[in-house]
């Protein structure tokens, strides 16, 4: 069943006197529980695509449908509520509030939504289990390592049980080992929670965890890579790398 659908998605930016076409009519669909990676060289439009899919920005043309909602037709306020309830975000720089503890950061979306965080103790514990931070729950961000901070950010993105989880370069600010564990975590959330995950990345290792990799160049989808679930990780990675090299050449 399709949970997210982009059709004829176009986005233009005014840069001085020039109009830059970041996306040139993109069509694609995401199914419930799918793990997708979006790759492409710098300026290919992958971040723009993520912004449009998450309702952070509105397209110049075309449509994004999340569940039953047509994101581009929503008012600013409606889009905010749609994000609040249906989209989880994970950022490259974690973006945790330095003044809140790990568990308070995780509960933040619920607090914003006016929910009583005490009623979500069970969900919190479950998420802390999932990200493996039970013993670090009372720590402030500056007492956590980069990897731990990103785990908190993932738990925060999952706390509202969103329809999709969007991650923008989630491993961009982490070392290889930590990055691997974060990608494994996202994969687990996809497997165990049936969570739909879309990751924008330029790291082939990160992308190799996805069930489907979409390649963008100059605002168009130029290739899709869909390895079988049995393909080993390093084989997937070399497949992705060779595609990237071909695109960048």
């Amino acid at each position: 069943m399709s949970i997210l659908k982009a059709s004829k998605l176009r986005k233009e930016y005014q840069l001085g006197e020039h109009v830059v076409e970041a996306l040139k009519g993109i069509n694609f669909e995401v199914k419930q529980g799918e793990f997708i990676a979006i790759m492409g060289p710098s300026g290919s439009g992958k971040s723009t695509l993520l912004h449009l899919l998450g309702g952070l920005d509105s397209p110049s043309d075309g449509e994004v449908t999340l569940g039953d909602a047509h994101l581009s037709q929503l008012t600013e306020y409606q889009a905010t509520l749609a994000r609040r309830h249906n989209v989880g975000f994970v950022f490259q720089f974690f973006n945790l509030l330095p003044t809140l503890t790990a568990e308070e950061n995780i509960l933040l979306p619920l607090i914003i939504d006016g929910k009583n965080p005490n009623e979500y103790e069970e969900r919190l514990n479950h998420l802390l289990d999932l990200v493996g931070l039970h013993d670090r729950r009372s720590h402030k961000p500056d007492q956590l390592s980069g990897g731990e901070q990103q785990r908190v950010a993932i738990a925060r993105a999952l706390v509202t049980e969103p329809a999709i989880l969007l991650a923008d370069e989630p491993t961009g600010n982490l070392d290889t080992r930590t990055g691997t564990s974060i990608m494994e975590l996202l994969q687990r959330s996809c497997r165990e929670l049936s969570q739909t995950v879309i990751v924008v990345t330029h790291d082939p290792r990160a992308a190799s965890y996805a069930a489907r990799v979409i390649f963008l160049r100059d605002g168009n989808i130029v290739k899709e890579f869909k390895p079988s679930s049995k393909t080993p990780l390093n084989e997937r990675m070399s497949g992705i790398m060779s595609t990237m090299q071909a695109l960048e050449s």
Binding site: H85, F89, F91, N95, P98, T99, I112, A157
Partner: protein, 864 residues
């Protein structure tokens, strides 16, 4: 609940994380509210004291009868019988006012001056009363001894206890006083507390029998005042008004029936302009506080751009984000204003004492009324919300995509890039409005104040576009003072133009206030000096605490070394204007003697003194002050009607003179006209001119030796009296100086805030500079240079706006009050303000620069 949770998780945590900035910006509002409250309390204490002064004098009287022209001759006591026969009059209690001094007092050397007319006599005030009646009107709290019994000529006195203690007197002793007939003795039979009527003349007060007073002071059959109690103790306003009209009708026009409180109102009016000025200054202090808050919140928003972006991304609505900032502002406003009220109460005590000195009155610190506290508190909270409004709105507009950017973006809005257009418009509009002053009806200067704010805002909006030029112009000097790292620092002010703008603006307003206050003080002082040399003409000024017959003047004239003596007599007179009756002061002088001793100060330089003197000598002519001339549009050759002993009489205006006596509500007439029409024949003062080559002090000593004791003369040289008046004026303006100083302090807090912020923001950069070899001292110079440039821009702009504003307000004040002053811009004041602005900026930079110098290199380069 949602709100409470947001407060708990976001607002309180954010305050805790930035507590220093919170407190610093809080100081702005604390000081603003404190100044506002203390000024309002001080003003109230001043007004209360004045009203009490009059209510002490008139006690519980419902109506008071006095003579319309308050000459010392008073009015015949037959009037008392007429008053008592009028229905509804229960008690009519007569009073004779006596001003004298105790005989054993050393020759008084001081003349008590009061800018607002409440001069204490410096001597002893005695009330001649009817002991059977007066205590029913006034409260006399007997401490020891007995009160006066019957109304006879028996020479007994009841004194205020504190006065008696000061003089070492007690019940049973004799008090020796000076009378026109020489020294006389009064037996002290009782002492009263310094309460109620005991507070008259700051406690230098006593009561004697009416008949005794009349006899002692050669005023048999005369009264100065009759206080009236009605049959109905609480008459309705209509009944009282009927009685008042009835009384006025029966006693005739030579006397006036007034409500006791109205006597205080005139003085209250005089104080009003001064108080409007103080209120305006306190408003400015709050305005600067608002700048500080705006700046602090604007910084917070920029600093937290990514955080707000993240919150927006995960579903916080715009209103929720705006609400977050407003919640912080609310906390700041509520607690800051509360602290401001506490500080205000403390400040009020100091200012009340200062005001007491200015008014020459003992002001008792009144309880701070709840209303004032509430008003100041509300104003503080409101201003905080208003100041935080724009940053809060901006926070709500932050795009969720900011969360995805590597660094928080410090976008510069339209106001920074294009605001100069609005700035110029505001400057032009507010300058035109201030010069044209289309609000003459707005006596409280509320609209005028708004225009002044407009002027400041206009100047503020011009700052962002000029920052670059400032930096370029000052670069060589900065480099010379602070070295190479200094020029690196001064360039930093261009990096966040909004922050620089607001910091400079807060300092600018403070400096402008100082310039304004100083130039006003100097302008007044300059003209006061000129006028006083004429007003207290000649070289020596002689007055007495007892009436002086005019022959005293002739005697002084015969003292060796005296060239000329001019007698002067001041008294009040009613003037029939088109709008009604106005009471003004009549200054009687002998034109020929006066011209010998001093110069007439004509407002028109081309006036021929000889012609004017000739016209005056012909009689029925007067000189009017420039204040009256402006106020009523009168010129030479016009006629005004003054009430004489035989009714209204027209006097021709012979010329317009500069005269600030009695707030400029004064006319000058001849000695002959005074004797003929007002039947007064004694002098208030003598102006004495010393022969050229003679020592003033020597002649003064000669006069004192010969007549000092006999006539109780107070002799004072022209120079020292001028100094006294200037000191008094300085004290009056010192209140404004206090306000201006507070504005500057608030402005300097802004610098601390801005620099701290800029150091935090640049931690990584500072670490890098340290890594590549910058020393701690160089880092300190770098921050000091940045602060120095802020100080220079704020100082120069403050001097500029201050000069413009002072000039405009000066024109406005001249038109409104009629004072013809010469505008003075003190060059040393300008220089001092500029230097002060720079020094303040350097002091404010001490903490941030030290903080910057202590940045740890390794941590800093990892600082995200």
């Amino acid at each position: 609940m949602t709100l409470l949770r947001q407060i708990r998780y976001l607002t309180l945590r954010s305050i805790r994380a930035r507590w220093l900035r919170f407190i610093l910006s809080g100081f702005g509002i604390v000081l603003g509210v404190a100044v506002m409250l203390s000024i309002s309390v001080t003003n109230r204490a001043a007004l209360n004291s004045i009203m009490r002064l009059f209510s002490n004098t008139s006690g519980s009287a419902k109506l008071t009868v006095t003579t319309s022209s308050q000459s010392t001759s008073g009015f015949p006591d037959i009037v008392l019988r007429t008053i008592r026969n009028i229905p509804n009059v229960e008690v009519a209690s007569p009073i004779l006012h006596i001003t004298t001094i105790a005989a054993d007092d050393a020759s008084p050397e001081q003349i008590a001056f009061g800018l607002f007319g409440t001069q204490g006599t410096g001597g002893l005030t005695l009330h001649g009363i009817d002991p059977a009646m007066d205590p029913s009107l006034r409260e006399y709290k007997l401490v020891t001894g007995i009160f006066l019994q019957d109304n006879s000529t028996k020479r007994e006195v009841v004194l205020v206890e504190t006065y008696a203690v000061d003089k070492g007197l007690q019940v049973g002793d004799w008090l020796e006083i000076i009378t026109p007939n020489g020294v006389e003795s009064l037996k002290i039979i009782g002492l009263i507390a310094r309460e109620g009527a005991g507070q008259i003349n700051n406690g230098s007060f006593g009561i004697i029998r009416l008949l005794a007073a009349q006899e002692l002071f050669n005023r048999t059959g005369e009264l100065d005042q009759v206080d009236i109690l009605t049959t109905d103790p609480n008459p309705s306003p209509i009944e009282l008004d009927t009685l008042k009209n009835n009384l006025q009708l029966r006693i005739g026009r030579g006397l006036s029936v007034t409500y006791p409180s109205s006597q205080g109102e005139r003085m209250t009016q005089m104080l009003q302009n001064y108080q409007i000025g103080l209120n305006f200054m306190s408003g400015i202090a709050l305005f600067v506080g608002a700048f500080l808050i705006f700046n602090a919140f604007a910084m917070t928003v920029i600093e937290r751009t990514r955080e707000f972006g993240m919150l927006r991304t995960i579903g916080m609505t715009r209103n929720q984000v705006t609400g977050l900032i407003l919640l912080e502002a609310g906390a700041l406003g509520i607690f800051g204003s509360m602290a401001g009220i506490s500080l205000g109460m403390a400040l009020a005590r100091g200012l009340t004492t200062l005001m007491g000195v200015i008014l020459n009155q003992e002001l008792s610190f009144v309880e701070v009324p709840f209303n004032d506290m509430f008003f100041s508190w509300t104003a503080g909270v409101f201003v905080t919300f208003l100041a935080a409004g724009i940053p809060a709105w901006q926070a709500g507009r932050i795009s969720p995509m900011e969360a995805l950017r590597v660094r928080g973006k410090s976008g510069e809005g339209w106001l920074i890039s294009e605001g100069w257009k609005l700035g110029i418009t505001l400057l032009v509009i507010s300058t035109v409005l201030l010069i044209a002053n289309p609000f003459p009806f707005d006596v409280q200067f509320r609209l005028g104040s708004l225009t002044v704010f407009g002027l400041f805002s206009g100047a503020t909006l011009l700052i962002p576009n000029t920052v670059h030029s400032w930096e370029k112009i000052t670069r060589p000097i900065i480099k010379w003072i602070y070295g190479a790292s200094g020029s690196l620092g001064s360039r930093n002010i261009q990096r966040s133009r909004q922050r620089t703008t607001l910091t400079v603006a807060a300092l600018m307003v403070g400096v402008a206030m100082v310039i304004m206050t100083r130039s006003m003080t100097e302008s007044f002082a300059g003209d006061l000096r000129n006028w006083m040399s004429a007003y207290i003409g000649g070289d020596i000024f002689a007055s007495s605490s007892v009436p002086m017959r005019s022959d005293v003047g002739q005697r002084i004239d015969s003292v060796p070394g005296v060239e000329a003596v001019a007698p002067i007599r001041y008294f009040n007179v009613d003037w029939q204007t088109a709008d009604g009756v106005e009471q003004i002061n009549f200054m009687a002088l002998d034109p020929v003697a006066y011209a010998r001793v001093t110069d007439f100060v004509f407002s028109d330089d081309n006036t021929n003194t000889e012609q004017v003197v000739q016209r005056l000598q012909k009689g029925n002519a007067i000189l009017i002050s420039s204040v009256l001339s402006e106020k009523y549009g009168l010129k030479t050759g016009d006629y005004i009607e003054l009430r004489t002993r035989s009714g209204y009489l027209a006097f021709e205006i012979a010329a317009v003179v500069v005269d600030f006596y009695n707030q400029g509500l004064v006319v000058q007439g001849t000695w002959d006209d005074m004797k003929r029409y007002f039947r007064i024949n004694d002098a208030s003062t003598f102006f004495i001119k010393v022969n050229e080559g003679q020592s003033i002090d020597e002649v003064k000593r000669r006069i004192d030796d010969l007549y000092g004791k006999r006539y109780r003369l107070i002799l004072i040289s022209n120079t020292s009296i001028r100094e006294q008046a200037l000191t008094l004026m300085d004290q009056a303006f010192s209140m404004f100086d206090v306000m201006a100083l507070i504005s500057i302090v608030v402005g300097s807090l802004g610098i601390v805030n801005t620099l701290t912020m800029s150091v935090i923001e640049r931690t990584r950069e500072i670490g890098m500079l340290r890594a590549i070899g910058m020393t701690r001292a160089q880092i300190i110079y770098m921050v000091l240079a940045e602060a120095g440039l802020i100080g220079v821009i704020g100082g120069v702009l403050g001097v500029g706006t201050g000069m413009v504003l002072a000039r405009i307000l000066f024109i406005g004040m001249t038109t409104m009050s009629g004072y013809q002053l010469t505008f003075v811009m003190p060059p040393e004041g300008i220089l001092i303000s500029l230097i002060a602005a720079v020094i303040i900026s350097q002091i404010a930079a001490i903490f941030p620069s030290r903080r910057a110098s202590k940045v740890k290199i390794l941590e800093a380069v990892h600082y995200e």
